[in-house]
Symmetry: C2
Subunit: 429 residues, 2 copies
């Protein structure tokens, strides 16, 4: 990667003349004095500024014409922190921290400018010293991927790893995970590891650990507290409740969705309050019902990805359904409109898919609320064409559940039964 990434023309010349490169710590005298690390620039930036990352975590663009002096404090090679060693306190509960990557296990790579998943689980652990007072945490790296690159194969890998600890002395397992697809992964783990004897908590962050506004520490501490104090089982996502730094929400792994691109409180339990909330160090159970039915743990770590999620919209060309049929798919989960509808234009293709023995499930693109296909003609038509209404299951969860169901049986009737069996609180009653 270039030492001058993104710099062109005047600004590139400025760096060369002053013998500094991206990643160097510098002190710059301009209108005032700035100390920080020289950041790379993105494509098509102007050539009149250089960008400095300040200690506060924020970036500032400095006009080179106004820079009076620039002094190198430390060269880029030395800007790497060593993790501290964590001492363990006897008697504290044991928690396993598995890292899969994501922003929570990331820092800005000053040489490339990318936020990349480079923190090890050990570094993650040591970066939040409060953790060592809550639990003795063992850390392990499983993957180093942002979650848009976490594939169904990785779900299997994560589930198998967790499953191998079913008879351990851990009080719970924390999975550090990118936020983009965290709710897809939590769904898979909820089904594949139903009945797991200890809580499984996915945790991420919306802002990387080296940013002043990072949510990594609060979320990690929340996850550890949840495991040691909630006295529950099941799969949860633990993240900021809102933009404030004092409340963490613990969401049931099959009822949660990333509903905002950037806010720290991006995750929301759909149609309900989060199952638990941790506010000012106190954990509170919000819902009186039991979330997970008592069941023996019998791992079913299989899946079949030949399922398509189809969002209907006006103008949707049913030929795309024909492509799915021809592609050998075993199931289609529709994101219909409203109570669970698609236009009449789709009926022939839906009929054909049903005749081919393809599972057809209906969810709603409204996200919130429940499909109900007996109210209107179009809903009843679709029922007659073989579409199964999937209650208030979230589209993403229904997709993952169908993948999982077909991984465990190829019998379509069994799959239909599984889809309507409330295995991990994926439907509310």
């Amino acid at each position: 990667m270039s030492e001058y990434r993104g710099y062109e023309g005047n600004s590139l010349e400025f760096l060369k003349n002053n013998q500094v490169v991206v990643g160097d710590s510098v002190k710059i005298l301009s209108d005032i004095t700035y100390s920080g690390i020289i950041m790379p620039r993105y494509e098509h930036s102007d050539d009149k500024h250089i960008v400095l990352k300040l200690k506060s975590g924020y970036n500032v663009g400095l006009e080179i014409a106004k820079i009076k002096n620039i002094e190198k404090i430390q060269s880029s090679e030395k800007n790497v922190d060593e993790p501290e060693k964590i001492s363990k306190i006897e008697g504290l509960p044991k928690v396993l921290l598995l890292s899969t990557g994501g922003t929570i296990a990331s820092k800005v790579d000053y040489r490339t400018g990318a936020v990349t998943p480079v923190l090890t689980a050990e570094e993650l652990n040591s970066s939040v010293p409060e953790l060592s007072k809550i639990a003795n945490i063992d850390a392990e790296v499983l993957l180093s991927e942002y979650s848009e690159n976490i594939m169904p194969e990785n779900w299997l890998e994560i589930a198998k790893k967790i499953s191998s600890y079913s008879n351990s002395d851990y009080s719970g397992i924390i999975i550090a995970h990118g936020t983009d697809t965290m709710h897809y992964t939590s769904s898979f783990l909820s089904f594949a590891l139903a009945g797991f004897p200890i809580p499984i908590v996915l945790v991420g962050s919306q802002r990387s650990s080296d940013r002043a506004s990072s949510d990594a520490a609060l979320n990690l501490i929340g996850a550890a507290k949840f495991i040691t104090e909630s006295k529950t089982k099941g799969v949860y996502i633990v993240m900021h409740n809102d933009e404030n730094d004092n409340t963490v929400a613990c969401h049931i792994g099959t009822r949660v969705r990333k509903n905002h691109t950037s806010k720290r409180g991006a995750f929301q339990t759909v149609g309900d309050v989060p199952a638990f909330v941790i506010a000012e160090d106190k954990i509170q159970k919000n819902i009186s019902k039991e979330f997970y039915k008592t069941q023996e743990f019998q791992p079913k770590i299989n899946l079949d990805t030949k399922i398509a999620l189809v969002k209907y919209y006006p103008g949707y060309d049913p030929k795309l359904i024909e492509n799915i049929i021809d592609g050998g798919y075993k199931g289609i989960i529709f994101e219909g409109t409203g109570l669970g509808h698609v236009g009449r234009v789709m009926y022939d293709s839906v009929k054909k898919a049903n005749e081919k023995g393809i599972l057809l499930g209906m969810t709603s693109q409204c996200i919130d609320g429940r499909v109900r296909m007996t109210v209107y003609e179009s809903g009843r038509d679709l029922l007659n064409l073989g579409i199964i209404p999937l209650e208030d299951m979230l589209p993403e969860v229904a997709l993952v559940k169908a993948m999982w169901a077909f991984g465990n049986t190829q019998n379509i009737e069994d799959v239909k039964e599984i889809m309507l069996d409330n295995i991990a609180s994926e439907m509310s009653i």
Copy 2:
């Protein structure tokens, strides 16, 4: 349609023995006395009950074993209301009400059990007597379709009809429309009729007009008040603000989404408060900014449906993108994860699509928030592959905008420019 639709075995025999059919008004003596209309039943119902629609609008199932007497009050043929004639008051503003169908223009058809779009615009008008005190309303039926069957061709039809009134003496135009795809239609009208001299208001209802809990009246009154009092232009959706019967929200037509399958307050302005709220008869403007830029009205009523909306998920098979490319599509709007990502597995297909000159736009399945593709490696990779980040445009709106843009020009560079030009407040700044 059968006179006994859905009734089988004992319950069918019961109806026959008592010489009553579906649609008859009856008085039934059981534990107490019930008056109502015999409703049809759905497939696979039991044969121990008959279903009665009470005057309150609610249905009740009565066990036939407990029925002591049943008396026919009026036969099904006579259960049809005649609309009243509306008198007009001189000096009131004129408003045009166009009906396209949907629940708002529906009632339960007692012979088929379906909620079907059978109310004419005139009946709709006369069913809400308060309207005549706000405006003199002319009513016209344009279509009778539930909105899952409103197709892009219908958008053109609606837009052309509206456009023909650009020099009329109406103060505004109300479109009665099904709620399922109302926000797709409002988006199209926002682009095709940008600059239209009078407000265009889409209004629907979540519960049909003959139900006690119907929201039709409040929403219609709200739409009429909005037109006569808001002093604004543009395209809006006017619907219940929440579950209460005293507040109506007026949403900008490109910033709104149906976010609940059944609630009366299902529509929400994404990421902001509604532009206007009508509470206790008073209209209040919530946002100080101007929503629609001043522009000359020059109708651009064209579209091209060769655009696909693709929601990415783990396990998405890029071959589906190849199908879209081979299908001659002109654009793909991605619903990526988080800030606007898709997995690495998609890169080759995305690259190929870009090389074929297909428009590639990025939105987020988070719904709320803004795509930002310069933060992470994957976002930057996708930018380099030619994907255009579409700010905080909603996926559905981006889809409709791309259809509309390609309807007006086949030049991809022009389309790219149009996609990022804020034409009808579809992006917030």
